[in-house]
């Protein structure tokens, strides 16, 4: 399922309503558990409206799935946490306003790790999503529902959010394309915050062209996000197959121990394919990479511990029967409403910010972040893209790693440095390990999404 194909269907007389009906039918019979809330009524109403007045806008009549961490007016938004069960936002996120303005049809909300804290979509209060390539395996996370929905052919497009790899990891595990934009390119207004200084909303699609199209729709300045900036180009227009001017840097640190041999081979194969199309390649070093995970988790958990304080049951969300004094009331709501991983990260973040430890953890992590950012800036001076494996291994089995928090954190080794540096990165399928897809990560300079999209596009065309 891709956007061009759907437009062709419309041209051949298929109505949007028919398409939307068939999508809901497919989702309702799906084993993936990719969607957690369906917006049937509003989607069908919008479909009929498009059928009546014609498909207008860049995404007229195109169905899309939305990660459950993005605020949708009138559609339950829970971050797949029990603490937000039943919360119906009175407002739309900036990206949702943009999608609606361009005629997209919001099918529903997709599954995710609770509050985006995870790499497997197993911590959702709605149960795990299954990988369409092998149902006993995870789809990756935290935006596993969005990736699985696209990979499983349920929707052509989906939005996720990426704090430390949450778009790219599931894109890699599910064999679809996913992009994390430069920090500031897409407004975070309406994205339920996990770690504010790291995250961006990002597009998923089955191919690079559709990712570029969706990025065109959601990116750009929004005065409601103080960290939002004005974009400089239109991505779909810039897309072409020519990579003769592309200089690829390959950081050795990202091919370190623990990496699956088949993954390594597939990514080198991808680099070779781009070389064959005229790109040049050089080996570079990002010397502070080994500190990224620690710095990332300290920053993310610290910010999260503060972001998740607001769920006290007064204005929205879970409230237990009879109130006690306010301390006890709040403490019991959080004890029952948050899952274990969320509690673990809140406690760690609280510790990292607490009196006497701020300097050792949070401040130190921000300084290390400076070093990591500088690594990227200098590596990207003489190259214009960096290529690495997205994930060190293909999708693992459901339940396989969930008992070992630290081991699971280590899986993010290749994705978190990108969020620390704030640069854009795309994961594009580059082969298989058995029946499991492998993702190749292409990293670019700040706000140079055009070049990573073009490199991914050229590679994708070459694969066909």
């Amino acid at each position: 399922m891709n956007v061009d194909g759907i437009r062709e269907m419309f041209q051949n007389g298929k109505s949007v309503e028919e398409l939307v009906h068939s999508i809901f039918d497919k989702i309702e019979h799906s084993k993936l558990n990719a969607f957690v809330t369906l917006a049937k009524e509003s989607a069908l109403e919008e479909a009929r409206r498009v059928d009546k007045h014609g498909a207008k806008g860049m995404l007229g009549g195109i169905p899309i799935g939305i990660k459950d961490s993005i605020s949708t007016k009138g559609i339950q938004t829970t971050c797949c946490s029990k603490i937000l069960e039943g919360y119906i936002p009175p407002y739309d996120a900036h990206v949702i306003e943009r999608l609606k303005a361009e005629g997209a049809i919001i099918i529903g909300k997709t599954n995710m790790d609770e509050f985006a804290m995870g790499t497997s979509t197993e911590t959702s209060c709605f149960g795990p999503t299954r990988n369409p390539w092998d149902l006993i395996r995870v789809p990756g996370g935290s935006s596993g529902g969005s990736a699985a929905a696209v990979a499983g052919g349920e929707v052509p497009l989906a939005l996720g959010s990426d704090t430390g790899g949450s778009v790219r990891c599931p894109a890699s595990f599910c064999g679809v394309v996913g992009l994390k934009p430069t920090y500031g390119l897409v407004s975070r207004y309406g994205l339920v915050a996990y770690a504010n200084s790291l995250e961006q909303i990002g597009p998923f699609a089955g191919n690079v062209k559709d990712v570029a199209l969706l990025l065109d729709v959601i990116s750009g300045y929004d005065p409601r996000d103080s960290t939002s900036v004005t974009k400089k180009c239109e991505y779909l227009k810039e897309l072409r197959e020519d990579v003769s001017d592309v200089k690829i840097g390959v950081p050795g640190e990202f091919f370190g121990e623990g990496i699956d041999e088949k993954v390594e081979k597939a990514v080198w194969g991808g680099i070779k394919a781009l070389e064959d199309r005229g790109a040049s390649y050089t080996e570079i070093s990002l010397p502070h990479t080994k500190y990224s995970l620690a710095a990332y988790y300290i920053i993310a958990m610290s910010e999260a511990s503060s972001n998740l304080a607001r769920f006290d049951g007064l204005r929205y969300g879970l409230r237990l029967g009879k109130d006690k004094d306010w301390h006890t009331t709040f403490s019991e709501i959080k004890a029952q409403g948050f899952g274990e991983e969320v509690k673990r990260r809140i406690l760690l973040g609280t510790y990292a910010l607490s009196a006497g430890y701020y300097g050792k953890y949070y401040l130190k992590a921000l300084k290390v972040r400076t070093l990591i950012k500088r690594d990227f800036e200098s590596a990207l001076k003489d190259t214009n893209v960096l290529i690495t494996p997205t994930m060190p291994f293909p999708a693992f089995k459901i339940g396989e790693k969930i008992g070992e928090p630290l081991a699971l954190y280590l899986a993010d080794v290749n994705t978190v440095p990108i969020n620390l540096a704030g640069v854009p990165s795309i994961s594009v399928p580059c082969g298989f390990a058995g029946k499991l897809p492998i993702g190749m990560q292409i990293i670019g300079r700040h706000f140079d999404e055009a070049t990573i999209l073009r490199t991914a596009y050229a590679f994708e065309r070459g694969m066909k």
Partner: protein
């Protein structure tokens, strides 16, 4: 090394009620993760911290009053309310 008592205090600060079992489990898990974080002690980071990757400054809004949401929308998700107010637990 953090102790169970520290975990208990963190639970208080974060207003998350922890069972004895929780405290024991989290003490172990937090210690192994904090051990991993010790890695940062190796780095001699004599550089300014990066709060914002983009280095933006002075982002302001004009002082213009805009539209608020209705009382109905404001209270729409409130589990408990009374006469237009949110209803909360007792304070003391």
């Amino acid at each position: 090394m953090i102790t169970k008592k520290t975990v208990d205090h963190l639970g208080w600060l974060a207003r998350i009620k922890l069972t004895e079992e929780d405290k024991e489990k989290f003490t172990d898990q937090l210690n192994s993760i904090l051990d991993y974080f010790e890695k940062l002690d190796e780095v001699d980071a004599d550089v300014p911290p990066t709060h914002h990757v983009l280095g933006l400054t002075n982002v302001f809004r004009d002082d213009v009053a805009g539209q608020s949401i209705s009382q109905e929308d404001a209270l729409g998700n409130a589990p408990k309310k009374e006469r237009g107010y949110f209803k909360g637990p007792r304070i003391v």
